[in-house]
């Protein structure tokens, strides 16, 4: 039987198939954080059961933590309580916690890979929709709700209906200034936010193969924004050399033996997908969103559509969205003033993202009207920025580098974009109020964010790249 990569991993994790029901899937790695886990631990207590495999579970505090003065107590009482509850729950159940101020702390989807916990062929879940990020290593990784967090804590298994299989191939070479973020935003703008609902997506094609591991994580991260259950990429030499470069892999035994077996993790020639899509990388420009869902995106030098053609939204929803953003149909965005810039999140909070941003701000100054939130995805990234001299490039250009966390991506902490203000953000969601009540988010790549940060207006990064 010819199998897709997805089927190989899924089938090898089925503990039991329920007749006319979901599969019971064994979970290799469970990441938890402060926001979606407390009710799950309460549930365990009410049932009188303990965590079945604490050693397969890893915890971090990231969603509501502050990005300044992390050594002080968290000011918001509810957040402080939530973080304390996480520590208590982890202690009680023997779960490893990389909490606030721990040298390994950071956004769950940044630290899992960089600490060598995410490995090819695994099943990984987390009470967070961007768990799809880990698919970059050739894993089945997806977000779950809190009831399911409780389920995995109690049984190390999850019940899931088997999703359908889609392959999205991106072939050819991307142009100058076009990043992984632009590739995935382009795909979403073509197929809409519901375009992959019900599917698990395998990304392939030469343009995907050419991406670094970090860039692949950016692509898989946003697969949830096309509605997909998750996205994955077959592991290859890029994956293996990334894994070899980590100081520690959380495996028992021989890395090379593991790598040899991971080489079989790819879709068989002739394996059948329920749906196949193909895109030409050469057509992709630096992207930006103009509306209130990630599917409402366009090339940065294009005009906002006159009606929603690609997304298929009814015109009332389209106009409501533009109204919220303070935009009009057929309007140009280049040159539009920007108030905030946010660099960070599990989409673009890794070292390569900070290098890319630095490549544009180097030798320039932050525009005076712009407030910038520069937030590394983890302590490790923060440290590496210092080591590489990036932190001083940021400071010389007038930017403050903050401490790691989700920050303004969902604005549960103090890093909120004020009402009505425009923020060019490297995160993944531009929903109404996502970055604070009334905030207007324009999603883009780190290069495009940097271009806005130094010019104060929406700018084409291709014109600012220092060759």
């Amino acid at each position: 039987m010819k199998e897709t990569l997805f089927e190989k991993i899924w089938n090898s994790h089925v503990v039991r198939s329920i007749n006319e029901g979901p599969d019971v899937l064994f979970i290799d790695r469970h990441y938890i954080h402060e926001v979606t886990s407390p009710q799950a631990f309460n549930g365990l207590r009410a049932r009188g059961v303990k965590v079945l495999h604490p050693e397969k579970t890893l915890a971090t505090a990231d969603h509501n933590t502050p990005t300044r003065d992390q050594h002080l107590a968290i000011r918001d009482e509810l957040s402080r309580n939530q973080v304390a509850k996480l520590a208590e729950n982890c202690r009680e159940n023997g779960i490893e916690l990389y909490g606030l101020n721990h040298e390994k702390n950071g956004i769950v989807h940044v630290i899992g890979p960089e600490l060598g916990y995410t490995l090819p062929g695994m099943t990984i879940v987390c009470g967070d929709s961007h768990t799809s990020t880990h698919g970059a290593f050739g894993t089945i990784a997806f977000g779950i709700g809190t009831s399911e967090v409780e389920m995995v804590l109690a049984t190390q298994c999850i019940m899931q209906p088997r999703p359908r299989k889609m392959r999205i191939s991106v072939n050819g070479k991307t142009g100058r200034g076009v990043t992984a973020k632009d590739i995935v935003m382009y795909i979403i703008s073509r197929i809409s936010t519901g375009g992959a609902t019900g599917y698990f997506v395998e990304f392939s094609g030469s343009a995907i193969r050419d991406l670094s591991m970090e860039a692949r994580m950016t692509v898989c991260n946003m697969s949830i924004e096309m509605g997909a259950r998750g996205g994955l990429i077959a592991p290859d030499e890029t994956t293996f050399s990334y894994l070899r470069s980590l100081s520690r892999l959380n495996i028992n035994g021989d890395t090379e033996a593991a790598i040899a077996s991971w080489k079989s993790l790819k879709s068989d020639e002739g394996a059948v997908f329920d749906k196949e899509l193909e895109f030409d990388a050469a057509l992709i420009k630096p992207m930006i969103t103009y509306g209130t869902n990630p599917g409402m995106g366009m090339g940065i030098d294009e005009l906002i559509p006159s009606s929603d053609t690609a997304g298929g939204n009814a015109s009332s929803s389209f106009l409501k969205s533009l109204g919220y953003m303070g935009f009009k149909p057929s309007m140009k965005l280049l040159g539009h003033p920007v108030d905030y810039v946010f660099l960070g999140s599990c989409t673009n909070g890794r070292i390569e993202d900070f290098r890319a941003f630095a490549s544009i701000i180097k030798g320039r100054k932050k525009a005076s009207g712009v407030t910038a939130l520069i937030v590394p995805g983890s302590k490790r990234v923060e440290e590496q920025m210092k080591r590489e001299g990036l932190t001083s490039i940021y400071e010389e250009a007038g930017f403050e580098v903050r401490q790691p966390g989700c920050s303004s991506c969902l604005a549960m902490n103090e890093d909120k974009i004020p009402e009505g203000k425009y923020a060019v953000s490297t995160s993944n969601r531009n929903f109404e109020g996502r970055q604070g009540p009334g905030a207007r988010t324009l999603l883009a790549s780190p290069l495009t964010a940097a271009a806005a940060a130094v010019t104060g207006v929406i700018s084409d990064p291709r014109e600012l790249i220092n060759d």
Binding site: V15, R16, I18, N19, E20, G21, P22, D28, V35, T36, P38, Q39, N42, G43, R47, L52, H53, D76, L78, S79, Q82, L119, G121, D128, S129, G143, I144, G145, S147, A154, T155, Q156, C157, M159, P163, T193, G194, T197, G198, G227, R229, I251, N252, D254, A258, S261, N293, N313, S316, S317, L410, M412, E419, R429, F431, E432, G433, R434, P437, G438
Partner: protein
């Protein structure tokens, strides 16, 4: 742990004719700091329901006294975005027991079924007719029969079959809980864990 059973629900409905209603709208992130499941209904659709100064926004449907009931009828692609189960808790806590739309996001669908909130997928044209009807006649009732898997619009008699996973249907009808089911599989799970790949 047993849950509330869902067999037949007949109720008036609350229309929300918007598409792509995401979980950030259903319950904004700043209300996610609680560590219990209760009380989220107060902040359901918070930023649409209340103005900046905290007053009720009279234009939003939940503040319109002519509409009420235990069924929320919403535009397509409902519940996209974040995996936060708090969105489902908020809808349930507010008093809804079913959401009707032509399309749901995956995680929202799973979360709903895990919490006794029935997501009912119906054809888009029928959804449009229901939204129009309810707008004109807020007293119009819908009947959802889970056993027969039929949704019926009482005043017009129009009905449609809807699909649901057979296992999940059983759980909803009987108020069964997935975790109890899995806990009973403990030996099978332990056996499986033993034959994992050696390096994990």
């Amino acid at each position: 742990m047993a849950k509330e059973k869902f067999v037949v629900l007949e109720s008036t409905c609350v229309p929300l004719p918007l598409e792509n209603v995401d979980t950030d709208q259903i319950i904004p992130a700043r209300f996610l700091s609680a560590t219990s499941r209760e009380g989220f209904g107060d902040n359901l659709f918070r930023d649409w329901r209340y103005n900046k100064n905290g007053e009720k926004n009279p234009a939003f449907v939940l503040n319109d006294p002519s509409f009420g009931g235990r069924i929320l009828v919403a535009g397509k692609n409902f519940g996209s975005g974040s995996s936060r189960e708090h969105a489902v808790w908020a809808i349930y806590d507010y008093g809804f027991r079913a959401v009707v739309s032509s399309f749901f996001a995956d995680i929202f669908m799973n979360n709903s079924l895990n919490n006794g909130l029935l997501p009912v997928v119906i054809p888009e044209d029928m959804l449009g007719r229901i939204l129009d009807l309810v707008k004109k006649d807020p007293s119009a009732k819908i009947r959802i029969d889970l056993e027969k898997q039929i949704l019926k619009v009482i005043p017009t008699g129009e009905e449609t079959a809807f699909s649901i996973n057979a296992y999940k249907k059983e759980c909803m009808l009987k108020g069964l809980d997935d975790i109890d089911f899995l806990l009973a599989m403990r030996n099978e799970i332990d056996e499986f864990a033993k034959r994992e790949r050696p390096w994990l």
